[in-house]
């Protein structure tokens, strides 16, 4: 529900901005990743408090949307939960600029299941077989005799792309019967309703859902299964660790530069911990 409204708002905002051109020196517009939405809003609020007179607006829509908008001049900063693709870089170059990439936080992609699920941990290989359709029942993983219901985001989501590239392999399709949901919240809704459901969400969201879902520890290769935590994500021991990024049109200047420097400072990084992600 919320994400729909945000999308509509994003569309309207996109329209206004593209007519007015990128924002003035004091106002900064951010657009992109839904995973980063709460984080970016937290940053915007804290930054505006720290620098009175400057304004930062944030809209979601997905990483792909944000990057496309940056390329077309619809926003100043694109939030992305994945790195830019080669094709997107080409498009930016065709528009006459080379995007600058800034890592702004770390995230562990949490694997969530229904609280009634008895499977204690999962390996990357099992995860791959669940999402490419090889495994269809939880008993194949030592759980109850219960069909697996796979839930994912829709294709504009950076999380959808990150999970696909990391778990299935680049260019490997998801099983066709995976449910695709327009927002992170509706993943939680399905997983809390369906006993056999499994899904993936940014760790801050997984924590926010509380007892409605259970975060399941993940093992990469032959290693032991670990929960996404500050330590396991920072060391890369948690296999679904990733950076969250901001992109600008070429080297940032003015408010954009000041904002990104501030985001990467100790003050900005404390917001990361508050929202539930992990600092750099």
């Amino acid at each position: 529900m919320r994400s729909r409204t945000l999308l509509a708002a994003a569309a309207v905002a996109g329209l206004c901005v593209s007519q007015a051109g990128p924002a003035s020196a004091q106002a900064l517009s951010l657009k992109g990743s839904d995973t980063m939405l709460a984080l970016a809003q937290g940053w915007a609020a804290a930054y505006m408090k720290a620098r009175p007179g400057r304004s930062v607006s944030v809209t979601g829509g997905g990483s792909t949307t944000g990057i496309a908008s940056l390329v077309n001049g619809g926003c100043d900063v694109a939030n992305a939960s994945r790195v830019m693709k080669g094709s997107e870089l080409e498009k930016a170059k065709a528009r006459g600029f080379v995007p600058r990439e800034f890592a702004v936080a770390r995230d562990g992609l949490a694997i969530v299941v229904n609280p009634a699920n008895t499977v204690a941990k999962i390996t990357m290989d099992q995860l791959k077989k669940i999402y490419n359709g090889t495994f269809t029942n939880w008993k194949q993983l030592g759980g109850r005799d219960q069909a697996i219901v796979t839930v994912g985001r829709d294709s504009s989501s950076g999380t959808y792309g990150f999970f696909q590239d990391t778990v299935l392999g680049i260019g490997r399709p998801y099983r066709p019967d995976m449910q695709t949901t327009p927002s992170t919240n509706s993943i939680a809704q399905t997983i809390s309703q369906d006993v056999g459901a499994i899904g993936y969400v940014g760790v801050a969201y997984a924590k926010e859902f509380g007892a409605k879902v259970r975060i399941i520890p993940v093992a990469g290769g032959a290693g032991e299964a670990v929960m996404p935590s500050l330590e396991t994500v920072r060391t890369g021991k948690y296999p679904l660790s990733r950076y969250l990024f901001m992109y600008t049109r070429g080297n940032p200047s003015g408010t954009a530069k000041d904002f990104i420097d501030w985001v990467r400072s100790a003050q900005g990084q404390s917001v990361v911990t508050q929202v539930g992600y992990f600092p750099l």
Binding site: V71, I170, G171, M178, Q179, P182
Partner: protein
Amino acid sequence: MATPKRSLRERAVEGVVFSGGMASIVLVALIFLFVLKEALPLLKDYPLSRFLTDRGWQPTLAPPEGPWFGLLPNVWGSFLVTAGAVVLSVPLALSTAVFTSEVAPSWLRDMLKPLVELLALVPSVAIGFVGAVAINPLVKDLFGLDTGKSAIAGSIMLAFMAAPTIATIAEDAINAVPRSFRDGSLALGATRWQGISGIVLPAAKPGILAAVMLGVGRAVGETMVVIMVTGNAGVLPDKGIWYAFTHSVRTITGTIGAEALEVANGEPHYRALFMLGVVLFTITFVLNAIAHYSLGKGDRRAQA
């Protein structure tokens, strides 16, 4: 003196009405041409044969395998959800129409008719929300399914939306059957039910068919509800109809609604969504044409 003045005014009014009517035709034609213009360049990147026969919809799948822009899973999902909605809503809506127009006492009719019409005005996002939090778990428990996000949940919600439309228009059609038909059948010794089923309903058939078609059109075009309750998984019925009906599907409108705002202009994905739009436009156009054709037939018969 007065005559030329009035005819001038009459001509002006005529002109306004005429251009108003023409404007809507021109507008629809322009919209269709725009959708077509945005869609056709897809065929440079993605041959029509693949669009029509590919079994998957994964628009961001990386090469060499991807992307997949398969029409089939989308059309199948729309068909399945709509067919289910028709099966559920038509008997319900027709009995409502017969009851309010033929059976109910007038005080009850005066209460029922506005209520049914009010039902048609409930915003689809509200219906979708009810579906997602109430109907999905209910359907899951009722049929013992793995997931409530299923075609059948979509059908139930769409039936709920289509039924008032069908009931209202069908009732108008039944009311339009001349009084003399009913009196005639009663005079010949038929019971009231024999009159309704043997005389009134057959006479109102073209209008009822139109009502059903408009209801189907509403179900096919509905977007928000199906995004929220069907799960949006692009699959084909490899495991039978009932299996498909009780699992997630992806509809044409759901795909467009979920992805259109989030795709970069001019990309093949953007073109593919417009291509789906062309297909959807064609489907609703045909449904409307059938509805109008059968309404026209009904008018002629009533005059004869």
